[in-house]
């Protein structure tokens, strides 16, 4: 077990930021912390890192209690902050060397690690640049390089792709997969469900400091009634026909918006065939038809009644 959080409670005055949080993270996995802004993701990270004092519960990292002076534990942790945390007066190389030097004192080894980190985030052409001269995406990559250069066993990435262009985002996500393939355990927090779906083997969904769903992606998605969404482009469907679709087996609800019919259905063997037969029988004109599996957003929506990005 790399991280074990038990009954963690953190309050800011009357506000409960973390409400009896329980998380276990195994070695070698990419663990996702998903939730809307203000759900408690960053607070949980800060508690794991012992930056924040908490009201109740316990945190173990690498099987030992995490404290502010647990330097042997800290040596194997890398953090990529939500906000870019670099010195404006130092160049790209100097920044990475500075933060790497807080973990690695051997100069020769450090030089190798810094160069490796620069290579892995694609900043080779910018080593002498000052942070102010970098674009948002490159700055994020520098932020990541500063957090991972010392090759930690546990890497915590707190929303590393916020305000990043698609090219840098892909670069970052690919880099995370590479780090994991090299053996690092990763905790990834985001409110972008696509990233969590793409990267994480297991996840928890947080809302108002509480875990509302936990497990593998499949396990989490199976917690809700929704099995699939069938989307049909239609042109002459009547209200009466919509009612009839709504009454079909496994159908949860029906929505028609700007000629796009969305039918949310429970798991069933022949949902799509049944719907297609009905449309053909009724002589309804149609265009594109496709079926979608439920997303993590659907899980969040069904459990909390609101969207992840609300």
């Amino acid at each position: 077990m790399i991280v074990k959080i038990e009954n963690l409670v953190k309050r800011y005055g009357d506000l409960i930021a973390l409400d009896h949080l329980n998380i276990e993270i195994e070695e070698g996995e990419i663990f996702g912390l998903l939730g809307p802004n203000g759900s408690g993701k960053t607070t949980a990270i800060n508690c794991i890192l012992s930056l924040l004092k908490y009201d109740k519960g316990s945190i173990e990292v690498f099987g030992k209690e995490m404290t502010p002076t647990a330097y042997d534990i800290k040596r194997d942790i890398g953090i990529v902050m939500q906000n870019v945390a670099v010195f404006d007066e130092l160049t790209v190389y100097e920044n990475i060397d500075y933060f790497c030097g807080l973990y690695i004192s051997d100069k020769t080894k450090r030089k190798e690690l810094v160069e490796e980190a620069i290579e892995s985030v694609g900043l080779k052409d910018f080593v002498k640049f000052y942070p102010k001269k970098l674009s948002g995406g490159l700055l994020r990559r520098l932020n990541i390089a500063c957090g991972i250069a010392h090759k930690p066993k546990l890497i915590i990435l707190d929303e590393p792709t916020v305000a990043v262009d698609p090219q840098s985002r892909n670069n970052i996500l690919e880099g995370i997969k590479r780090l994991n393939a090299q053996g690092a355990t990763i905790i990834y927090t985001s409110h972008y469900m696509e990233e969590i779906e793409q990267l994480c083997s297991r996840l928890v969904i947080l809302d108002k400091g509480k875990v509302i769903a936990a497990g593998t992606k499949e396990e989490v998605k199976s917690m809700i009634a929704l099995g699939e969404k069938i989307v049909v482009e239609t042109f002459n469907i009547t209200d009466e026909q919509l009612e009839m679709i709504n009454d079909m087996p496994n159908v949860i609800d029906v929505e028609l918006r700007e000629n796009v019919l969305t039918v949310r259905q429970k798991n069933g063997a022949s949902n799509l065939v049944n719907l297609m037969s009905f449309i053909a029988d009724q002589g309804i004109s149609y265009g594109k038809i496709y079926s979608e599996l439920p997303t993590l957003n659907d899980v969040f929506l069904e459990i909390t009644g609101k969207e992840l990005r609300d």
């Binding site: 004092k53 902050m81 945390a85 007066e89 130092l90 500075y98 933060f99 807080l102």
Partner: protein, 371 residues
């Protein structure tokens, strides 16, 4: 101490334009302005002889011109009365002496030089009339050493060596040195912010690293002191070598005082950073204002302030690091002994250690309720 943190802290200060400006260039600019403002002030304090003409038409009393020469008060030139009149109207001379119907000093305006001339002549006439009167009454007195006992060739100016003079202008430069040393408080405050996780993302990242807070603190403080000490040394070199302001020859003692001043300044900034809960920008603004107030109380803007504080609230002189630095430099310059200097440097170091101890107590094992 971590050389790695020390090296990069020093590097980032050198590359920080704002730090360079406030800690190095601003004091140099201020020193230049002080020099421009005060150089004529001291130059005006030197005495220039009064230009007096002696009219050549009439014979002057015997010994008068010699007495005037020996007084060191006058620059005598000889010319006709008409020429003297012309030069007087053109303000080339202060006055001229004639002896037409008795000895007379002709002047046009009133002023210091005119008063000097008039007082000298009145004194001469009074003494010579008295002597003539005594001799007429009893001529035998000439056979005694009476005349030798009368000193008409008296020097009126007293020269004092510059090193012992009370040149008040250097106090401004001392207060400026104090300000430069104490500006290390800004860097000290910034260093504290870097080891308090709730101050900035960079600070949080440093706190997460397996580096002991005290080790990081000592390394950053050492870099701050070195940087500020270098600034102070550059400023001293600029003031003494370029501006030619006399700081005396006890440079080692001055450097030692500056070093302790930088340490105390840095520790003061650290303590301020540790006890206050403001955000970094506000802390920087407040600490620089506090340093300026300290320097004001030690005479940076108004020279008399140093003496007012010493007279009415002497305790402030002992707790204000700027006053201790200023007074330490002052003691080095004006006194032959080191007693007052050592008192100042000891008090300064003591305050620095108190600030340091309090800062460590506060920062030790600090955890945060929110970030």
């Amino acid at each position: 101490m971590s050389f790695h943190i020390f090296k990069y802290s020093f590097k980032s200060m050198i590359k920080d334009n704002m730090a360079l400006f406030w800690m190095l260039f601003f004091p140099i600019i201020l020193a230049t302005f002080f020099n421009l403002a005060f150089q004529n002030l001291t130059a005006g304090e030197g005495f220039e002889r009064v230009n007096i003409a002696v009219a050549t038409e009439n014979k002057m009393p015997v010994g008068l011109e010699d007495a005037m020469e020996d007084s060191d008060l006058f620059q005598i030139s000889y010319m006709t009365e008409d020429q003297a009149e012309k030069q007087l109207t053109e303000n080339k001379i202060t006055g001229y002496l004639t002896n037409r119907d008795g000895l007379e000093m002709v002047i046009l305006d009133s002023g210091m030089n005119q008063s000097i001339s008039k007082v000298f002549l009145d004194n001469y006439l009074q003494v010579s009339t008295t002597v003539h009167g005594i001799i007429e009454e009893d001529p035998r007195i000439l056979q005694t050493d009476f005349l030798e006992s009368i000193n008409l060739r008296q020097g009126y100016l007293q020269e004092t060596p510059v090193s012992n003079s009370m040149n008040p202008v250097v106090i401004y430069f001392y207060a400026l040195m104090a300000m430069t040393c104490l500006f290390s408080a800004i860097a000290g405050c910034y260093s504290t912010a870097l080891i308090q996780a709730n101050q900035s993302p960079v600070a949080a990242r440093i706190n997460i690293a397996p580096t002991h807070k005290l080790r990081a603190f000592v390394s950053m403080t050492a870099a701050t002191i070195l940087f500020q000490m270098s600034s102070a040394m550059i400023l001293i070199a600029y003031i003494t070598q370029i501006l030619k302001v006399d700081f005396g020859d006890r440079i080692i003692h001055i450097a030692a005082l500056c070093l302790v001043g930088c340490f105390t300044g840095s520790m003061f900034g650290t303590l301020f950073g540790a006890v206050t809960k403001f955000k970094s920008d506000i802390k920087d603004m407040l600490i620089s204002n506090i340093v300026v107030i300290m320097c004001f109380l030690s005479g940076l803007m108004v020279l008399q302030m140093k003496y007012i504080v010493q007279q009415h609230a002497p305790i402030i002189s002992y707790i204000n690091p700027a006053s201790l630095i200023t007074d330490g430099l002052y003691a080095l310059y004006y006194y032959d002994t080191f007693e007052r200097y050592f008192l100042n440097i000891t008090l300064l170091a003591a305050w620095g250690l108190v600030y340091c101890a309090l800062s460590i107590l506060i920062l030790r094992r600090q955890k945060y309720a929110s970030i």
